[in-house]
C-alpha cells in the first residue's frame, strides 16, 4: 500500500491476487498472502477440505488493517507463523481490543463486523453505510484533501 505524491492511497503488489470463478470464489489449496492479514477460511483451504474464499476474505483483511491503524499492532500476531495461524483460526477466543487504546463504538463495531465469521461479515454496501463513515463523501474521496503531510520524503521509503 503506497501513497502518490499528494498522499492518496494506491494499492500495489498483486502477486497473489486470483481471478474469481463463476460462483464468485477462488478455488485454491494454497494459502497466499501476508500471514497476519489472512482470513480463517483461506487458512482452512489448506486442510484438505475443498474450501474456497471469495470477496469476503478481502474484507477480513481490511478489518485487520483498520485494527492495526488504530491500535498499532495487528490483532493476531504470534511469535511464530504457526502461532499466528493458530490465533486466526481461534479468533473467536483470541480477538480482543487492547485495553490501553480508546476506540469509538463505531470503530469497534466496524472492526467486529469485518473480523468475524464469513457468513455474517459486512459486504461492501454495508461497509460504506456503516456509522464509522458517517458524513464521509465517498464519491469525492480522490479529489478531497489528504491528512496532513503523509510522507513527503520519498527517500524514507528505504
Amino acid at each position: 500500500m503506497l501513497f502518490n505524491k499528494d498522499g492518496h492511497v494506491k494499492l500495489a503488489d498483486f502477486g497473489s491476487c486470483f481471478k474469481l470463478n463463476k460462483e464468485g470464489h477462488v478455488d485454491s489449496q494454497v494459502a497466499a498472502g501476508t500471514p497476519d492479514y489472512i482470513a480463517p477460511e483461506v487458512l482452512q483451504n489448506n486442510d484438505g477440505i475443498k474450501g474456497s474464499c471469495g470477496r469476503e476474505s478481502d474484507w477480513w483483511s481490511v478489518g485487520v488493517v483498520l485494527y492495526e491503524m488504530l491500535c498499532t499492532n495487528p490483532p493476531f500476531m504470534g511469535d511464530t507463523l504457526l502461532q499466528t495461524y493458530g490465533m486466526i483460526m481461534n479468533y473467536k477466543e483470541k480477538f480482543a481490543f487492547p485495553e490501553e487504546v480508546t476506540l469509538s463504538e463505531e470503530a469497534k463495531s466496524l472492526i467486529r463486523g469485518l473480523i468475524c465469521d464469513r457468513k455474517t461479515r459486512l459486504t461492501y454496501e454495508q461497509i460504506i453505510a456503516h456509522p464509522f463513515f458517517k458524513g464521509l463523501d465517498w464519491t469525492n474521496l480522490a479529489k478531497g484533501l489528504c491528512p496532513p503531510s503523509p510522507f513527503p520524503y520519498f527517500w524514507r521509503l528505504w
Partner: protein, 100 residues
C-alpha cells in the same frame, strides 16, 4: 500473469498504474508508475497509530481500491494488503515481480 492482466484492466486512481509489461526468457517485467508518497508501513511506524479521522480517510480509500479489484472479478487475496513487511515495489521505476 494474473497480476499483469489485472493491472491492465484496472483503470482506477486507487491502484498503481501499469505503464509497460515485457519479458525475457526468465522474467516478466512490470513497469509501474512512480509513487513518491512512500508506503503505509513507514507512515504507521512513524506515528505508531492514527487517530480515527485519519484512519477513516485511509481505510475508505483502501476499501474503494479493493472494491474496484472485486468489480473486475479478482480478489486481492488478503495478500500484501497495506502493511506488507516485505520489500515494497518501488525500486526505481522497474520492478521485477514474477520469476518464472
Amino acid at each position: 500473469m494474473e497480476e499483469r492482466d489485472l493491472l491492465g484492466l484496472l483503470q482506477t486512481s486507487w491502484v498503481t498504474d501499469l505503464e509497460y509489461a515485457f519479458q525475457d526468457d526468465d522474467y516478466l517485467y512490470l513497469v509501474m508508475e512512480y509513487l513518491a508518497g512512500g508506503n503505509m508501513l513507514s507512515l504507521l511506524l512513524k506515528h505508531e497509530c492514527f487517530d480515527e479521522e485519519t484512519t477513516r480517510f485511509y481505510i475508505a480509500e483502501t476499501i474503494q481500491g479493493v472494491q474496484k479489484i472485486h468489480e473486475q472479478g479478482f480478489v486481492y487475496r488478503c495478500a500484501s494488503l497495506p502493511f506488507s513487511r516485505q520489500t515494497h515495489l518501488l525500486i526505481g521505476r522497474i520492478i521485477v515481480l514474477l520469476g518464472t
